[in-house]
Subunit: 352 residues, 2 copies
């Protein structure tokens, strides 16, 4: 990436540096050679003093404070909604842009909600905060937006197969500890999860809304509408946790106004950014979460005509929850901010 | 159960006595006090000579042969489609009724396909063979037929979360061995399954049809239509295997011609035979496969108005794949044959 407008690079802070997404953010900044001139790792006081390696250098984690956001251009936050709400104004007042991975600001009308492959143009409207969408929403969006552009989706029914990582690093460790316990005929621990997830599945345990959908499901509904700028899009979601470590899968039924030829859908998706069509019909080989783990792409397959509706399509996807579902999308937003000169310092640089 | 028409009881043979379903069949005959006067356990020559306990007695497994079906009234078969096909005529010629758990005869027009809570009346048409439906089909049927009777279902979209037991006892052992290997950072064995299922999910690996649906999905489509006597019912299914041992779960979207009030649906399902509504909205507690394991009922929950369609309903279920999904349904068919005097010997007894 060229950063010709700001030769000295971007001063970045990561809020929630020790979490599953925070750790991945640090790796991605390094892997993708994001033009970092200074990296601050912020976390709760509990983690302060520990070190994390970045570009071969051991960086010491600082406890989050108002002062920590001084002289920072960009904050990538993944420390939960209440932490983001607590610090957002401080960050904006300090002149930095907050790319927030929590759900705190996603539905705020003044906050762009961005998947760079879908609605990069929305970034220009930011007022200091940009929201990173929900993981299941990002993965689904990548796979269906290219089709939606050809023919607007009329209705969408999705059932998810969500990994433990959606509930954080502790939950990932817990599902392994649960599996070990069950294999040894012991009682599985349930600290991060309300029920055993190993050798089990259960509806996503986010709070239920009055309509009988859980918050995770309503995120898929509302966030997809906002990202697609399709406020009337009809969506129904069933979100289920499965004992997988870090990649989500989704079974998606799409309904269009006119038939959508399967060949056309495959052609469109095979050229779509961030998507890889993975179908070997002869060998019954399709996307699987264990293979999507650690990958940037959303893998899409089993693309087929819905036999229950002449204008329906069915598809199946797997994508890394921590990577494209969270950290990678946030870093791509950061790259977009640099490229389009949407960071305050770059604006300043431009106005000089 | 009364068996006043045949005081000496029924002479039963189990074909495939050593499999996951065969083992459950033997337990259920004992648990439910099925009027067995004689029990023959048949399996491949490999298993001959081994013993299995029934009513406190050690029964010796015999290798299957034509002679073995002489003097038998009822054969409960669960040894795969090719074995059922190979022996069906011999069984019928010997004067016994075959209740077959394989897919071999399910779509044969002369063979009733029965879920006793749904279409017991079809049993009277049998010509020596009755087919036990596919496991996912039975579980779904129990949960949706009571609603279909109130208002015919127009369209149905289902995504499944299928346990290892659907692929047999070896597959159940393999998913545990895979989990153990993965936890120890070793390569998981893949003998029963084409891919690791532990800490993973993948589309059901039954052969794919030209339309892009796998055979398991087409079973849900075709068998449900036959059992419901609704040849035009529009169904689309996505069948996915998940690392669960022996209970399947399903996310089901139903579309009716008119709105179906959620309260009415809950009332109907709470009184439906073989169904238990399990919903604790305050505690986010719904059906889970680990709790459905070993239970007779299909557990249904998260019954809610589909927000994407005014005439839609969403629901979620879990049910034991080996029990109601296979062995229990077969034993219930056997009980129905006794009650309605539909076994050849009982016909003889009646004609005397």
């Amino acid at each position: 990436m060229e950063v010709n407008h700001l030769s000295e690079g971007i001063r970045v802070a990561i809020l929630g540096a020790t979490g599953a997404v925070g750790t991945e953010l640090i790796q991605l900044l390094e892997e993708r050679a994001f033009p970092v001139s200074q990296l601050k790792l912020l976390a709760s006081p509990r983690s302060a003093g520990k070190t994390i390696s970045f570009r071969g250098e051991a960086l010491t984690i600082e406890a989050v404070s108002a002062e920590a956001f001084q002289d920072v251009d960009l904050v990538l936050a993944s420390a939960g909604g209440s932490t983001s709400k607590a610090w957002a104004q401080t960050i904006v007042d300090a002149g930095a842009v907050l790319v927030d991975n929590s759900s705190a600001f996603r539905m705020d009308e003044t906050v762009p909600l961005i998947v760079p492959e879908i609605n990069p143009q929305a970034a220009a409207q930011h007022q200091g905060i940009i929201a990173n969408p929900n993981c299941t929403t990002i993965l689904m969006g990548l796979a269906i937006f290219p089709l939606h552009q050809i023919q607007p989706i009329q209705r969408l029914i999705v059932a998810t197969y969500q990994s433990a990582s959606g509930a954080g690093a502790q939950a990932m460790a817990e599902v392994k500890a649960q599996a070990r316990a069950i294999l040894n005929e012991e009682t599985p621990p349930t600290d991060a999860f309300p029920y055993p997830l190993a050798f089990n599945v259960f509806p996503h345990n986010s709070p239920l809304t009055e309509q009988g959908y859980c918050q995770e499901e309503m995120k898929m509904v509302k966030e997809t509408r906002k990202i697609f700028d399709a406020p009337e899009l009809r969506i129904s979601a069933t979100c289920i946790r499965v004992p997988v470590l870090r990649a989500h899968s989704e079974a998606i039924n799409l309904e269009f106004a006119e038939p959508f030829p399967v060949g056309k859908a495959k052609e469109v998706l095979s050229q779509a950014p961030g998507v890889e069509v993975r179908e070997d019909w002869e060998n019954n080989y399709f996307p699987m979460p264990n293979e999507a783990t650690g990958k940037d792409e959303v893998f899409v397959g089993r693309i087929r005509q819905d036999i229950s509706h002449p204008c329906g399509l069915e598809l199946w996807l797997s994508g890394d929850q921590i990577r494209k579902g969270a950290a990678l999308n946030a870093v791509q937003i950061a790259e977009l901010l640099v490229k389009d000169q949407l960071l305050p310092t770059t604006e300043k640089a431009v106005s000089v």
